[in-house]
């Protein structure tokens, strides 16, 4: 079977799974959900069929598993968003249309030779920085939940960081490809750019108040630097600098300090000062409210979960228990409804995606392609780790999206562009082999 036929077969399976998901939400919540919900699955399948056709034309030799996996993840996400807030699912559906359009455009524009991007690397780098500082711009940026990650233009809001991430990867792939030999020699003056990027990450950290995003950008950078130079020393040095910088910021920025305290001690037996309302409350009723409620949600799922549509996210009076449930905390909603069996399977899909991405990087022929694929894949893995690890208290919690699953336009669009990038690299490598 050819790669694209295999992709089609996988997509059909994903379509069936999504239909089953919507059907079970419909059965569980008939009173709040209409039969129209079932049409979501059909609409969803038609969209992916279109994406598949584009892939068939533009990247016929590309990996046949990535698109169906992305489809499965968005399908799971859309089902859960629909279960939580049907009107959000409609908007998310529209964003998926936009995202698949961006995906198709990316494939079409670049399918002849994406490597010409390399010559625009500085443009990408500068645009990335521009996007990153955008939320700090007065009048544009807004602070949600203590972190400045959003930009508002009229009624439209988006997180520029999501697209900046991809542009940064393109820049780094180009830059490191060019400089890798020089850097590998380890002359002191070549550390300049490293320091500049470290400074940039710290700047992002201070400006956005967001440890997670800084960790994401810097982690991507270190991973790509390691692949390009093969020097673990750089990684160690970089990590040391990052920790030192983070420790400094910890001293200076209250918000970051709070995040760490919440992470280490989410529960207190005694009342502590609550900066939200100025009262004395146990921490679990104030600063660590979200984290704790989300952990309760995860724990409630147990082995098999409550079943789609049967989870508890509200009090009996209809008051929402967990804020940002369908964006930052969608994993805790899924963990409750699907249980360990379900979310472990979900995480295995993420692992497979990472494995395929890394394989593409290994098969790629040239340095730029390798670095691009590695950067995109590792960004995907690290972002998953940062948000889910935050929810599970492995690291301090950061409000970023779970790739493909969370509700949010900028995230979905960025992740489909990321997917397009991987397919382009994959297609080229396989075409050369064929």
């Amino acid at each position: 079977m050819s790669a694209r036929n295999r992709e089609l077969a996988n997509l059909i399976v994903v379509g069936i799974l999504t239909a089953l998901g919507f059907a079970s939400v419909y059965i569980a919540r008939q009173e709040v959900v209409s039969t129209a919900s079932l049409s979501y699955a059909g609409f969803f399948f038609a969209l992916y069929l279109a994406a598949h056709l584009v892939a068939r034309l533009a990247v016929p030799f590309a990996d046949p598993y990535l698109l169906p996996m992305a489809g499965l993840l968005t399908g799971i996400g859309l089902t859960e968003i629909y279960r939580l807030e049907p009107s959000d699912a409609f908007r998310q559906g529209l964003w998926i249309v936009v995202a698949l359009t961006a995906f198709s455009v990316t494939l079409y524009v670049l399918h002849r030779d994406y490597r010409r991007l390399e010559s625009y690397k500085y443009l990408f780098g500068l645009t990335a920085i521009g996007l990153l500082v955008l939320p700090a711009a007065p009048g544009l940026g807004t602070s949600v939940n203590g972190a400045r990650l959003w930009v508002h233009v009229g009624s439209l809001q988006f997180q520029p960081g999501e697209l900046a991430k991809i542009m940064l990867i393109v820049f780094l792939a180009g830059y490191l490809r060019e400089k890798r030999e020089v850097l590998a020699q380890g002359r002191l003056k070549d550390f300049g750019p490293l320091l500049v990027i470290w400074g940039g990450a710290m700047l992002v950290l201070v400006e956005t108040n967001d440890l997670g995003s800084a960790l994401l950008y810097f982690g991507i950078f270190l991973a790509m630097l390691y692949v390009a130079t093969g020097r673990l020393l750089y990684v160690g040095l970089g990590a040391g600098l990052f920790i030192a910088g983070a420790a400094g910021v910890y001293q200076l920025v209250g918000h970051v300090r709070d995040r760490i305290t919440i992470w280490l001690h989410p529960w207190t037996d005694h009342a502590v000062y609550c900066s939200i309302n100025g009262k004395m409350l146990p921490r679990q009723d104030c600063a660590s409210y979200q984290l704790v409620k989300s952990l309760y949600s995860v724990a409630h799922g147990n082995w098999f979960g409550t079943g789609l549509g049967k989870g508890t996210f509200e009090t009996t009076s209809g008051h929402q228990l967990i804020p940002y449930l369908n964006t930052d905390f969608i994993y805790s909603a899924l963990a409750q409804e699907l249980g360990l069996v379900g979310v472990a399977a979900l995480l295995l899909v993420y692992m497979l995606f990472v494995a395929r991405g890394m394989k593409i990087a290994m098969l790629a022929e040239d340095g730029f392609s390798k670095l691009l694929a590695v950067g995109l894949t590792f960004a995907f893995a690290l972002q998953t780790f940062i948000i889910v690890g935050g929810i599970l208290r492995i690291i301090p919690l950061t409000g970023i999206t779970l790739p493909f699953v969370s509700y949010g336009g900028s995230s979905v669009v960025a992740n489909f562009v990321l997917l397009a990038g991987l397919l382009l690299v994959s297609n080229r490598a396989s075409a050369e082999r064929a």
């Binding site: 959900v33 724990a299 963990a335 690290l382 599970l392």
Partner: protein
């Protein structure tokens, strides 16, 4: 570069694998701990999606049922207590705002079908997988609604409690406590419960006086002292005493109960008459002779100094015994730390619960053996099959059989011609003992008691009645209540 990529792939996969490990931790090991946390609303709300088991009285009367309500597309079950305040303290309540009390709390695992019983586990797991509503197990209590109603009516307007046991099995037949509250108000109008006033202060309507109320026992404790005296072998039912109206302790007179004209003086009496007329001076002498240690030792055989075994939550039951500054007092050296004379007639820091005193009456009735009290007769699954059945169990031997037989005769005399004549039932021999404990100085109100069992020749029912803030004595205030409740229990002809 491929070597680096391979290594980085391992890092990437490792990161996601760490998430699987962490998820496993939170969804398995940590689950129980988090579920128990006070602020875990999910757990609390989720409990309402379970169709809790019903709680029924012995005859099937429904004491706790569910009212279905649709909330945000979910079917939730809220508790409804059709008997209102009648069984409130034993049944308790299950609400969102104030968690749970009574059997609703202690038997929650059965009521929600989350107990470890294999049958239940299978049922609920199947329900969970099918997505069906999980149904809990039903509790069938040993309480008799008729007797419970009589007890509550008799207590109306007073502060007090009635506990009736089946002396042969330990089954609780009635457990009344006043003032009471309507458990249906706990969720919506707790203020109304807080505002309940009664003839005692604090009114404490939520306190289950039957198992958690501690009262000065007064003369009913003489039954325990008598058991200790008879068991010691130093006294028999015919032992002779001369009552001068007082007893000398620590160089001071301890006087008999009396009125304006001074303490009563009985002169020469035997042991039976001493109990019949509840003569303090005689018991004071007995206490001095056998010592506080022996009296306390016997009381422990009745169950004092231990949490009374019952299915209600542990914090709703109190042990009886000597109390010092609000805490159970364990004397290292009873002969020097405890006044034996006052202890013998139920003063001297002794505090008891009605349940414990019903157990004392039941021990005498049941030939010296205390049966383990229980209130949940059986638990049935949603299909009606029995999940668990309580079998009567011997709790402790309180005294020798011969002692119990002698005490029965003595207590019969109390009702036949002594202080407890108000408890007489036509055609049925009743054995009993009155108690009147002055809780303050002279002229203040009393805590009055009556413990009894009937029929004395073939005992079925043992009972304890306590009333707070009474102007009269136990024989005139508490004994008539005991009589009515026993009558209700014996008239039923139901002989389980």
């Amino acid at each position: 570069m491929n070597r680096q990529i391979a290594r980085l792939a391992l890092v990437g996969l490792g990161l996601v694998a760490a998430l699987i490990v962490a998820t496993t931790y939170w969804q398995t090991w940590a689950t129980a701990g988090l579920a128990d946390r006070q602020d875990n609303e999910i757990q609390r709300v989720a409990q309402f999606s379970i169709k809790r088991g019903l709680i029924r009285a012995a005859d099937g009367t429904i004491l706790a049922t569910n009212r279905k309500r649709r909330v945000a597309g979910q079917t939730l079950y809220f508790r409804r207590y059709p008997q209102h305040g009648l069984f409130a303290h034993i049944v308790g309540y299950s609400t969102q705002s104030r968690s749970r009390s009574g059997l609703e709390g202690s038997e929650n695992d059965y009521l929600t079908g989350s107990n470890a019983n294999l049958h239940t586990v299978l049922d609920t797991t199947l329900d969970r997988i099918r997505g069906a509503t999980i149904k809990g197990n039903d509790l069938w209590l040993t309480l008799r609604p008729g007797a419970q109603r009589v007890a509550m009516e008799q207590l109306a307007g007073k502060c007090g409690s009635v506990v009736a046991l089946d002396a042969r099995t330990g089954a609780v037949l009635a457990a009344a406590s006043r003032p009471t509250f309507d458990p249906n108000l706990v969720e919506g109008n707790f203020e109304a419960i807080n505002n309940i006033r009664a003839s005692c202060s604090p009114s404490a309507p939520l306190l289950n006086r039957a198992t958690d109320g501690l009262f000065v026992p007064g003369s009913i404790f003489k039954v325990v002292t008598s058991a200790a005296a008879l068991d010691s072998g130093r006294y028999t039912i015919d032992s002779r005493f001369v009552d001068r109206g007082y007893c000398i302790e620590y160089g001071k007179q301890v006087k008999n109960y009396g009125d304006m004209s001074g303490p009563e003086v009985f002169g020469p009496v035997d042991f039976l008459q001493a109990l019949e007329h509840s003569i303090n001076a005689v018991f004071c002498e007995i206490g001095k002779t056998i010592g506080a240690g022996r009296v306390l030792g016997t009381s422990k055989q009745f169950g004092f100094y231990a949490d009374p075994p019952l299915e209600t939550p542990g914090n709703e039951r109190a042990p009886s015994g000597l109390y010092d500054h609000g805490r159970l007092f364990y004397p290292d050296s009873p002969s020097t730390q405890v006044d034996p004379g006052r202890l013998a007639f139920g003063q001297e820091r002794m505090l008891t619960t009605p349940l414990q005193m019903a157990m004392v009456a039941a021990a005498v009735a049941n030939h010296g053996v205390v049966m383990k009290p229980y209130i949940v007769g059986r638990i049935t699954g949603p299909g009606g099959g029995v999940v668990k059945r309580t079998h009567p169990e011997k709790y402790r031997r309180a005294m020798r059989t011969s002692t119990a037989n002698d005490l029965t005769r003595m207590m019969e005399a109390v009702v036949a011609g002594g202080t407890g004549t108000a408890a007489q039932l036509p055609g049925i021999r009743v054995a009993g003992k009155t108690g009147t404990a002055e809780t303050g100085g002279a002229g203040t109100l009393n805590t009055t008691w009556f413990i009894a069992f009937a029929p004395a020749n073939a005992p079925r029912v043992a009972i304890a009645v306590v009333l707070q803030n009474q102007a009269g004595a136990g024989g005139t205030t508490a004994a008539p209540i005991a009589r009515s409740v026993m009558q209700a229990l014996l008239a039923g002809r139901s002989n389980p």
